[in-house]
């Protein structure tokens, strides 16, 4: 396999973005949760490797949804 393939360009890989501190806090306070109650994502996950991310940060994933068109999903980065 070619190691230079950019998997973020693949149709099946949804868009992952890093949230800023303020955005992350807003999400958590809206949901009234602490970050450990979010779904998790490994720091080493191929889709977020290039984002230069630290554990504890929150990733926003924009996915296609058969029911809602586009939908947003949040994951907290953890160490494997």
């Amino acid at each position: 396999m070619d190691k230079n393939i950019d998997i973020t360009q693949h149709v099946l890989v949804p868009k992952h973005t890093k949230l800023s501190q303020e955005e992350a806090e807003k999400i958590l306070s809206n949901l009234n949760i602490i970050s450990s109650q979010l779904p998790k994502i490994l720091k080493t996950d191929a889709a977020i490797k290039h984002l230069n991310i630290e554990p504890g940060e929150i990733i926003e994933i924009e996915r296609d949804s058969p029911t809602a068109g586009k939908t947003k999903f949040y994951r907290v980065v953890i160490n494997g």
């Binding site: 979010l38 029911t67 809602a68 939908t71």
Partner: protein, 851 residues
């Protein structure tokens, strides 16, 4: 989550040391006797009152607690000779094999010991504890292979284990005493390397020298009706142990020959073994005098009848009944027919007030044996059974505030359930209807949510006992509230069988009834709106009869069915409008009116269908399978053409002209093309039949409204078609052919299970054989797959059972961890939607139109 005072952080299991057994014990048991002549527990016996009490009135001599206050206390006995604990023989074997009998050291080189210790310490430091067992295992295997002790240079003789609990070193037996001596020599750090933490479990603790006696509270005796006492199985076993132990002591002290002592020792080992586990391989189970095996400690815990699955995970309730179910279309949808026998056994508690006093007295007067009667009266503290003797006293003493447990009556609230309870519609609230007979009766339309049929199915009935429970059942679980399925937003309860066929025939364009018939029909199903009936002329169309049920302001359009102002203008009612799982008319009524209205209307439509079909009559005859001559000729032509073209494809294949589809081999391509061709045949014939055969054909009627489809007719009257085995044409049988009468590699339709005859005219032997093959296969398939998929579904449902939609629209589990950020990603409650979507425009139109 408030009110959590303590949270379990971790649980650790460990062995009891002899010191600890002695420390926990309050009694030293010295005699196997249980009671003295007066029937009092013997002091120092197995029922000593210091071990706890099981008789009301007595007090525990350890904690002074009464029955139910005293939790029970342990005792102990000193064993004459040590015995092995049967559950640890495997671990004992490992220790014997990995350590030296002379010096007690672990059988690996000193440097290896140091190296491994360092590795384990490092793993603990870095928190990777889960890797330690792997190192332990490596150490054990290398220690087992050692022939000479690296520490004291002694020769190691391999240890042989003989089931159930004897060890040999070569041919000499290693007695538990020797095992004990060996284990005492093993150092703590060596234990760690073998994989046992000596803080919690020293190896010598696996050999019992002190035996704990469990409290009497966990082995209570039962007093039989005859006044005799029956002891618990554990007590029996314990008295065996104590008795043999005493004899062992006596013999040792008297200096009896070693053979006798050893015999008794083995017997003690046997009793201790069966005390812990009475199902050990190669140990004959200890039995009662009647011959049934004793239930000792292990049997109490494990398997289906054990403590976990039976007592802790099992739930049992009172006020419940179970019997066979049978159909009764005359019942309302939300009713359930209950036999008198059950109605007189189960009760509803009714609080006496000054307004219902006289009414409740009639029940007490009837007593428990006359139908609407009562079984018990609760006067605050006591529960009194009503009988001929007590009746008068109870009647006199009855005052407001008492509670009368009266028999079930029509209209009482109940909860009805059929297992497996896979979705919420498996438990619904029904109103009772007391009927003669011995089975539960239910409206056949509710079979679908329960997934019930009447081939011997049984169902459970529960009677809620409090006002809260009844209110909750009525509001949340009533059949009305469950009509719309949460899986697709359509009705899960709909018209079936006769009800669909009846309505279909009734709303036929050519159906005309006399005024008398129409009125009889409507009155028989409970339509008492005489205003509508008065409008009927001499001849009434079926559509007018149907419309008499509908509300006046109903507008509905679906396909050809058009309803304006509650009048069915055109179209015929069929499963698409009132059927199960796709009744659009029912859905519209449910949305525009109310649940009650919908159920009421549905009940009437259902009954109208049945009543009409009963009046008209419905059957099927052989002539229904006759189809016009020209259609038959044409079908035959289509079939022969298809076979001809298939043969051409096969010729192409044989001569190598056939080109394969991409990603498929030539053989696969051939099969695909042939299958496609042959399947087309049956479909096109089916279409042709449905076009040409008259609509009065009973088979056609059933294919449109009822249980049946056009393929059934096509297969009976024209052609059965290709028989498929696991998605392919038939290819099993002999070498390269299906039956011995075909040539090898024959790929023609007839040799691969194509049935060109019809059921009516009969199949030829070859076709019959292929047909039987697929029939048998599908039978096997359903029989094998149902339990598998059922278990799969159960596991899935159990894994997801604590997921819940919170008020903010998120889906979370029990720890409030988010699973989905908005339910279904669109926050739509499917049971209130149309095919999973909400048509905002339609709603606005409806609202604005009303104003």
């Amino acid at each position: 989550m408030e009110n959590i005072h303590k949270k379990v952080g971790s649980i650790s299991f460990s062995l009891l040391s002899p010191q600890q057994i002695k420390k926990t014990a309050h009694v030293k048991v010295v005699t196997p006797e249980l009671y003295d002549k007066e029937g009092y527990p013997v002091e120092g016996g197995l029922m000593d009152t210091r071990l706890g009490v099981i008789d009301p009135g007595l007090r525990c001599r350890t904690c002074a607690g009464k029955l139910k206050e005293c939790p029970g206390h342990f005792g102990y006995i000193e064993l004459g000779r040590p015995v092995l604990h049967i559950s640890y023989v495997k671990a004992i074997l490992i220790f014997l094999q990995t350590t030296c009998g002379e010096c007690g050291r672990l059988l690996i080189e000193e440097e290896e010991i140091i190296k491994n210790k360092a590795r384990i310490d490092k793993l603990i430091e870095t928190g990777k504890d889960e890797l330690i067992p792997k190192i332990n295992k490596l150490i054990r295997t290398s220690a087992k292979a050692t022939k000479k002790c690296p520490h004291c240079k002694a020769k190691i003789t391999p240890i042989k284990f003989e089931k159930p609990s004897t060890f040999f070193e070569d041919t000499t037996r290693v007695t538990p005493i020797e095992i004990l001596e060996r284990f005492e020599k093993i150092s703590d750090s060596d234990c760690m390397l073998i994989g046992v933490n000596p803080q919690f479990a020293r190896p010598e603790w696996m050999v019992l020298t002190i035996f704990p006696i469990p409290p009497v509270t966990m082995r209570p005796s039962i007093t039989l009706e005859s006044g005799e006492r029956a002891e618990d199985d554990l007590t029996h076993k314990l008295s065996d142990i104590v008795r043999i132990n005493q004899r062992l002591f006596e013999n040792i002290n008297a200096g009896a020959p070693e053979i006798i002592v050893e015999d008794l020792w083995d017997l003690l080992q046997y009793h201790v073994t069966t005390f812990f586990n009475n199902e050990v391989a190669q140990v004959p189970p200890a039995r009662h005098r009647s011959g049934q095996p004793l239930k000792t400690i292990t049997e109490r815990i494990k398997s289906k009848e054990g403590r976990f699955r039976h007592n802790l995970a099992g739930k049992r309730v009172n006020y419940a009944a179970r019997t066979v179910i049978s159909p009764d279309p005359k019942l309302e949808l939300n009713e359930v027919g209950v036999p008198y026998a059950i109605a007189m056994e189960l009760t509803v508690p009714e609080r006496v007030t000054e307004w219902n006093l006289e009414w409740l007295k009639t029940f007490i007067k009837n007593g428990p044996k006359v139908y609407p009667g009562a079984n018990y009266v609760l006067d605050g503290s006591k529960k009194k059974k009503i009988s001929a003797e007590t009746q008068e006293v109870i009647l006199e003493e009855l005052i407001p505030g008492h509670i009368v447990e009266r028999h079930l009556m029509d209209g009482d609230v109940s909860i009805f359930n059929r297992q497996p309870s896979l979705h919420r519609m498996s438990i619904m609230c029904h109103k009772l209807k007391i009927l003669p007979g011995k089975s539960f009766r239910l409206n056949p339309a509710v079979c679908n949510p329960y997934n019930a049929d009447f081939d011997g199915d049984e169902m459970n009935l529960h009677i809620p006992q409090t006002e809260e429970a009844r209110a909750e059942a009525e509001i949340l679980m009533e059949v009305e509230t469950q009509i719309m399925s949460p899986k697709h937003g359509l009705n899960i309860i709909g018209c079936i069988e006769d009800a669909v066929t009846g309505n279909y025939l009734l709303t036929d364009d050519n159906m005309v009834l006399s005024k008398e018939d129409a009125i009889t029909l409507l009155l028989s199903i409970g339509v008492i709106d005489t205003e509508k009936l008065k409008k009927f002329k001499k001849n009434v169309t079926g559509k007018e009869v149907f419309s008499a049920l509908l509300p006046d302001d109903l507008d509905f359009i679906y396909d050809k069915v058009i309803i304006e102002n509650g009048q069915l203008k055109t179209g015929q009612i069929d499963p698409k409008t009132i059927g199960e799982g796709n009744g659009t008319l029912l859905r519209d009524i449910h949305r525009s009116y109310s649940e009650t209205k919908c159920v009421d209307l549905f009940g009437k439509i259902f009954k109208l269908g049945i009543a009409f079909l009963m009046m008209r009559g419905f059957t099927i005859t052989t002539s229904d399978a006759d189809i016009p001559e020209d259609v038959r000729d044409k079908s035959k032509e289509i079939t022969s053409n298809a076979i001809k073209s298939v043969n051409e494809i096969i010729d192409d294949y044989n001569s190598g002209r056939l080109k394969n589809f991409s990603g498929k081999t030539i053989e696969e391509t051939l099969e695909l093309m042939v299958m496609k061709k042959l399947n087309e045949t049956r479909n096109s014939i089916g279409k042709m039949i449905s076009k040409s055969v008259s609509l009065t054909n009973n088979a056609i009627i059933m294919s449109r409204a009822g249980k049946g489809n056009i393929t059934n007719l096509a297969q009976t009257s024209v052609l059965v078609g290709q028989q498929a085995l696991r998605g392919k044409r038939i290819e099993r049988g002999y070498k390269n052919r299906t039956l011995s009468l075909f040539k090898e590699h024959d790929k023609s339709p007839e040799s691969r299970g194509f049935v060109r005859h019809c059921y009516k005219n009969g199949l030829n032997p070859v076709e019959f054989f292929f047909h039987a093959m697929t029939g048998r296969d599908s039978l096997m398939d359903t029989a094998l797959r149902t339990p598998k998929s059922g278990y799969l579904y159960r596991r899935l449902a159990n894994a997801l059972q604590d997921l819940k939609v919170e008020y903010d629209g998120t889906v979370r589990d029990a720890s409030k961890t988010i699973v989905q950020f908005s339910y279904g990603e669109d926050k739509i409650d499917v049971s209130r939607s149309e095919n999973g979507t909400i048509d905002v425009k339609k709603i606005i139109d409806e609202v604005t139109k009303k104003k």
